[in-house]
């Protein structure tokens, strides 16, 4: 029985931590249905319907963030650019790759590599 008690107390301690140490903060970014949509795209991105749904979800997230004057979450511009490129909208895609780069300087080197690969420039 003592074990069970230990167990439960540990659990409550963990919950206390989760519950009190950090009062819940609003999220930093808008994500819409990103988690599900991105996973589906990752597992089944060749499916045209899945690709279109994810593309629409990303656009929605971008629009929503901009409307709320929120920074767009890391990677969203780049991922949207990637889908635009895949669907033949190469020049639009470039704009979003560059948006990722300017919004998040951390991505600068990687985005230049990508653009070099896709457009043959730096």
């Amino acid at each position: 029985m003592i074990h069970v008690k230990h167990v439960i107390v540990s659990l409550s301690a963990a919950l206390l931590l989760a519950g009190c140490a950090n009062t819940p903060q609003p999220p930093l970014y808008s994500w819409g249905d990103y988690v599900k949509s991105s996973t589906r795209y990752g597992m089944d991105g060749h499916n045209k319907e899945v690709l279109e749904q994810h593309s629409a979800e990303l656009k929605k997230i971008i629009d929503e963030s901009e409307m709320n004057k929120q920074k767009v979450a890391p990677g969203i511009y780049a991922e949207y650019g990637q889908i635009l490129y895949e669907t033949g909208k190469k020049e639009d895609a470039k704009r979003y790759f560059m948006l990722e780069q300017t919004t998040y300087p951390e991505s600068a080197i990687f985005m230049s590599q990508i653009m070099k690969k896709l457009y043959g420039e730096g």
Binding site: H3, I8, A13, L15, L16, L28, G42, A73, S107
Partner: protein
């Protein structure tokens, strides 16, 4: 979650009233995760997850669902699908090959400050007529790309419980049983997200987080799973061997409530270890293999437990196993060295 919380509080209160003398170590995040503050990575590249369990079909869910939790902790997370496309264009299609790339090389390509390795090392399923559960255990390891040092590690445990909702009473039972017969499916995306979320939340916040650097002083209280006495580190027997019950999971302590739940492991023994058939997991980080006991914390690669407000590092064999001794039915570990924490223990 709310219900879970109130039950937790009640149980804790009840337990405190019984007056058992178990100690809690209070530790600041700065003391608990010193290397994250020392290196302050801004960007994280998540590598393909490695799955050492029998479930092969769930692996990718873990990779795709970690972006949001890490970004919400304030880090720049490299866009996973674009990263994958990049590796593919370099003919690196095998996830294992990607994990073998030295972190220095990854720094060159991505300019990532840190690389995250995720290991899926527990996968258990349980079924009854009325319910199904899936349990998953994860290990996270964050490596600084400049030095190759591991700057953070953590374990997380999550489970899904589907089917009969124990809180619905008898009427609910019948309704649920019918519903269960139709569908007891677990949504792997939800399960993976839940596990990743709880794991990531332990990480001190990154540059875009509201509490960036401020959370250094934030206190974490962790119930000691070990006692420091006469130069030895004592633990209960179940810490060594678990409760050796026969048969599959379901675990002893869980809410019979539908949904997805997760816990950081942090030496908590609330599962009586039923969920883990082995305590040791092999992690391969930056091309090197490590055997680790998931109930210990690791700093500079050395295992410790918190006890009486101290980090008590224990002796480990060169292969990573942590030997224990038994004396008069009491179990203990050999102490390697002790680091006192500034934050005072609370009993």
């Amino acid at each position: 979650m709310k219900r879970l919380l109130s039950i937790g509080f009640l149980t804790l209160t009840a337990f405190l009233l019984t007056g058992c003398g178990q100690t809690i170590s209070q530790v600041s995040k700065g003391e608990f995760y010193p290397k994250v503050y020392a290196h302050q990575p801004k960007s994280i590249l998540v590598l393909p997850a490695r799955n050492t369990t029998t479930s092969v079909d769930a692996t990718d869910h873990f990779r795709y669902t970690i972006t949001k939790p890490l970004a919400e902790q304030g880090y720049y997370v490299f866009p996973v699908h674009l990263v994958d496309a990049f590796f593919k264009s370099e003919n690196l299609t095998d996830p294992e090959m990607v994990r073998q790339i030295p972190v220095k090389k990854l720094k060159e390509i991505f300019d990532a400050d840190a690389v995250l390795y995720v290991d899926i090392n527990t996968w258990d399923t349980g079924y009854t007529v009325f319910s199904s559960n899936v349990d998953v255990g994860l290990s996270f390891s964050l490596v600084d790309t400049k030095t190759g040092e591991e700057i953070w590690q953590n374990n997380a445990y999550a489970y899904s419980y589907q089917g009969l909702d124990g809180n619905n009473g008898l009427a609910g039972l019948i309704v649920s049983a019918i519903a269960t017969a139709i569908n007891t499916g677990t949504d792997y995306t939800a399960l993976a997200y839940t596990a990743n979320n709880v794991g990531s939340r332990q990480l001190p916040q990154g540059v875009y987080g509201r509490a960036y650097q401020k959370d250094m002083e934030e206190k974490i209280a962790i119930l000691d799973s070990a006692r420091l006495e006469n130069g030895k580190l004592y633990v209960d027997e179940y810490f060594i061997s678990g409760i050796k019950t026969e048969g599959k999971v379901p675990l002893k302590v869980r809410q019979y409530q539908k949904g997805y739940f997760a816990f950081p492991v942090n030496n908590l023994n609330f599962f009586q270890h039923n969920g883990y058939s082995n305590y040791y997991v092999t992690q391969e980080i930056n091309g090197k293999k490590f055997l680790r006991n998931r109930f210990f914390q690791y700093e500079n690669g050395f295992p410790y437990l918190l006890a009486n407000g101290k980090k008590v590092f224990v002796f480990a064999e060169s292969d990573g196993t942590i030997p224990h001794s038994e004396e008069n039915g009491k179990y203990y570990f050999q102490i390697d060295h002790i680091v006192d924490l500034k934050t005072q223990p609370k009993s």
